[in-house]
Point group: C2
Chain length 518, copies 2
């Protein structure tokens, strides 16, 4: 999917863009723009300059990231600057998930970002899995370190070491901690939000008295992710178990949330791991159980990342820019007054007050830019609802509500109950985005029993392919030869569609969803 674009080009594109102040609600800007028309024309052209999605999906994606000012490339290779519009989405994701985590008894902590090499190496599979992609600190201050340390790519090692020190008895269990932090993985090919060296995430790490309790936790967290994707991000997901080849290094098994992007490519969007006693044995997290015997704890970890912002773009957005589900949009409604008339100002303020009182996140864009410019801005930034209040319309007792999802314009009388009408509209948009994504995904989900079918699909119109698998890594590798098609997950509760492995024709063990991945 391409690499990091040229920084200079990027700067050129960013120049002259207007800042969006998330917090300036209904205030008048203090300066008149000069050469308004020229600048606006330029800006309009830029919005239009988003590459058509069907022409070049990868370019369209980075165009949207830039046009909506979600992130900018930095001079730190493989790392981006998450800009205010992007970070506000992350803050909304954080607050929503954090509440769900706390309601299920999790608490937040903060572990160090550095891991001494010996600590990192205690669990062999983990270090083998991560060795090619960690960054090493070898010098502190002006001295070479006796022992190098890596920047955390994930924190199982640190949590395990900490837990070993505080757990004594089964009465201390379970411990269910989470942290919101940055991690670093030395990726070669990077793309904003989808794959970057540094990214933001949450990582939950829990320890339990019994395998069953830990496995229940693993499942519960997967369900929370599924609910969050469905209800907040309006993204339908497939959930299941990763194959041995695709599971997390060091896990007994990995459960995963897999989403399908607009172009039919799969995105691993969240994972929940069951470790059994692998780490607890390596790090000596033992406790005295109910029979007063020493036993190792059962462990889980689970995480989602800023990659979810990438998923939002690739599932919902369009040629006019970002499209955000109302429940995750930092700003849900923009009011655009047109003209200077007193009644326009008054009605705008009335709408603003009523919406704000109803708990809707709303702002007034009363800048001196042309209405067309302001409309385009609200679209590129993915504001779900725009209310246009103009002098001429008001004479006919009319105002207009523009939906971002369908780009429809809905005319209402000026005495509309703003809160009630907008609440309903936001709900409709949320549902419509989900249903649209679900319908698209269903249309791109195939059942195959022959390899040629998979080949044809992945070449012509890729998506999720359901097919039977014998369980051998050899057959997985064979499948990978078809445009890099990988197993997304094993569907454990669905009816088998055939009794033979699609690759080797031997007896099939699992129904698997396959896809081309990011």
């Amino acid at each position: 999917m391409g690499t990091v674009p040229n920084r200079k080009q990027d700067r050129e594109e960013l120049r002259g863009k207007n800042k969006n102040n998330l917090d300036r609600l209904g205030t008048v800007p203090n300066r008149k723009p000069i050469r308004k028309t020229k600048k606006e024309r330029k800006q309009k052209m830029k919005n239009k300059a988003i590459t058509p999605r069907n022409e070049d999906f990868a370019k369209w994606y980075t165009d949207v990231v830039k046009a909506a000012r979600l992130a900018a490339y930095s001079n730190v290779k493989g790392c981006v600057v998450i800009e205010p519009n992007g970070y506000a989405i992350w803050e909304k994701m954080q607050s929503t998930l954090d509440k769900m985590f706390k309601e299920t008894g999790h608490q937040n902590v903060c572990m160090p970002m550095l891991i001494p090499e010996n600590l990192m190496k205690k669990e062999g599979e983990l270090i083998n899995g991560f060795a090619p992609e960690v960054a090493w600190v070898t010098q502190g201050g002006e001295k070479e370190l006796d022992e190098r340390m890596c920047i955390r790519p994930t924190s199982e090692t640190l949590f395990s070491d900490y837990y070993a020190g505080i757990v004594k008895s089964y009465r201390d269990l379970p411990i269910k901690y989470n942290q919101w932090c940055n991690v670093l993985r030395w990726e070669k090919e990077t793309r904003p939000f989808l794959r970057s060296r540094e990214f933001l995430w949450q990582e939950g790490h829990t320890i339990h008295e019994t395998a069953k309790e830990a496995e229940d936790e693993t499942k519960q967290m997967l369900q929370i992710y599924e609910k969050f994707f469905k209800e907040y991000l309006a993204i339908p997901v497939i959930t299941g178990r990763k194959t041995e080849k695709e599971k997390f290094a060091g896990a007994e098994y990995t459960l995963t949330v897999e989403a399908l992007m607009y172009n039919g490519v799969s995105l691993q969007s969240g994972t929940s791991h069951y470790f059994g006693q692998k780490f607890s044995k390596a790090y000596d997290i033992s406790f005295s159980n109910r029979e007063n015997e020493q036993e190792y704890v059962y462990q889980t970890s689970w995480g989602v990342t800023t990659r979810m912002i990438g998923a939002l773009i690739m599932v919902h957005s369009d040629e006019a820019g970002l499209v955000l589900p109302p429940k995750i949009a930092p700003r849900q409604v923009v009011i655009v007054p047109i003209g200077e008339a007193e009644e326009v100002k008054n009605l705008s303020q009335k709408a603003y007050n009523e919406l704000k009182n109803a708990g809707i996140s709303v702002y007034i864009d009363d800048s001196e830019k042309s209405p067309g410019f302001r409309f385009a801005q609200s679209e590129v930034n993915g504001i779900p609802v725009r209310i246009e209040i103009g002098e001429r319309d008001l004479k006919e007792n009319k105002i207009t509500f523009a939906r971002r999802d369908t780009r429809e314009k809905l005319v209402q009388t000026a005495d509309v109950d703003f809160a009630k009408y907008v609440e309903k509209l936001l709900e409709e948009i949320q549902n419509n985005l989900y249903n649209r994504a679900l319908e698209r995904r269903n249309g791109l989900t195939y059942e195959c029993t022959k390899l040629e079918e998979v080949e044809k699909i992945m070449n012509e119109k890729p998506g999720f392919v359901k097919a039977m698998w014998c369980g051998s890594e050899e057959c997985e590798l064979k499948m990978k030869e078809i445009k890099g098609t990988k197993s997304r997950c094993i569907l454990e509760n669905e009816k088998h569609i055939h009794d033979k492995c699609i690759v080797c024709g031997k007896e099939a063990k699992h129904l698997v969803v396959w896809g081309i991945q990011y």
Copy 2:
């Protein structure tokens, strides 16, 4: 103030401690503790094992950190694990400050954590100031890097580089961004929250069209910090300008918030820097001004850290453990039901409901531990108000409210209006903590005109010393010979107390506050 204690001792002390689930509100635990009496006795002894504050302040401090489970030492040298009780305080600080920042027009972003060496070195004073204390990444994945990168000790360089790419005209200004993140400084002597290699903070970075606007921003942020310390942390502060010697590397000047700890030692608690055009010239952040000429922007940065948690401990806490001002306490009230009687349970639930509905953060501790144990737990954790509801008391229509700040017990009738009474009590506690701290600080603030006086004070009963200074670094160094006494800040708006420098006797330029620092 001592170094990092032995990890093994630490583990011993932590073992057998009970977890405090911040989110378990009013539910019954599902297991009966075994050998209750023995364990509780042990726990009680531990709470009592907090070293008396006047005996060994440094040991008392780490005892409180451990007993209240705010942080634990980790196997990563110089770094701690911030545990749930500590992290919840940080979350409360974050949400309060973040709101104040957003209300003044700031937006959050996220910069990379790594800084390439050439980028770090563009501004000479900064790199000279930070060179001895940065950690260098020299290897990424399995390869040596062509250019090493440091883990950010602060992010002026990254923000400047980013701003250079996005600013074109005065119409793009001001830009007022902030980030909440971790930073790393390779300290030798570390103490939890006060000085650790990695710490959490916020760093605001703003750029402006004029020097005046940037200087106003510098002052405004200092005022926000002052307000936050006074109104939320209940800590009185002195504000002023740092001397040339003590200012931030690369700043034109640094404004500071200085607090006095219980033992008379000063703590630099927040800083706001004015850079003028130093960084904008080094990083080429230029814009076309209103006269259509190229000009460099005027810049600021400002930050506060997890050190504020250390200040809370050292200003308010006591021998029974943590004391928290209600406005920053993650849990404000604990209800302790005593006995199994139905009326005890019902009244506890009623109190819980009424307080919760009033927006007060409350939980019920109905674990099967003895009342004495639960009382001690609430004290060590610094819960501002404890409500004791017992069967015997209820027969006399009585319940008890215990204040954490004064440890007074207040008897009320059982039909008390819980919300109203507790709201008033919380306010009283907040005010009392502030006034107590203010009175103590005033008692430890001295005016001196002779060096012998300073020497006597710093040896016997240290505090803030106000004294005149000629402005020479030589005299600052002379002062430092007195137990490390340093200038805290220059008081710019206070009346001079003398006309001669306290050190050299030459003409004095500034009234300065001096103190022994952490």
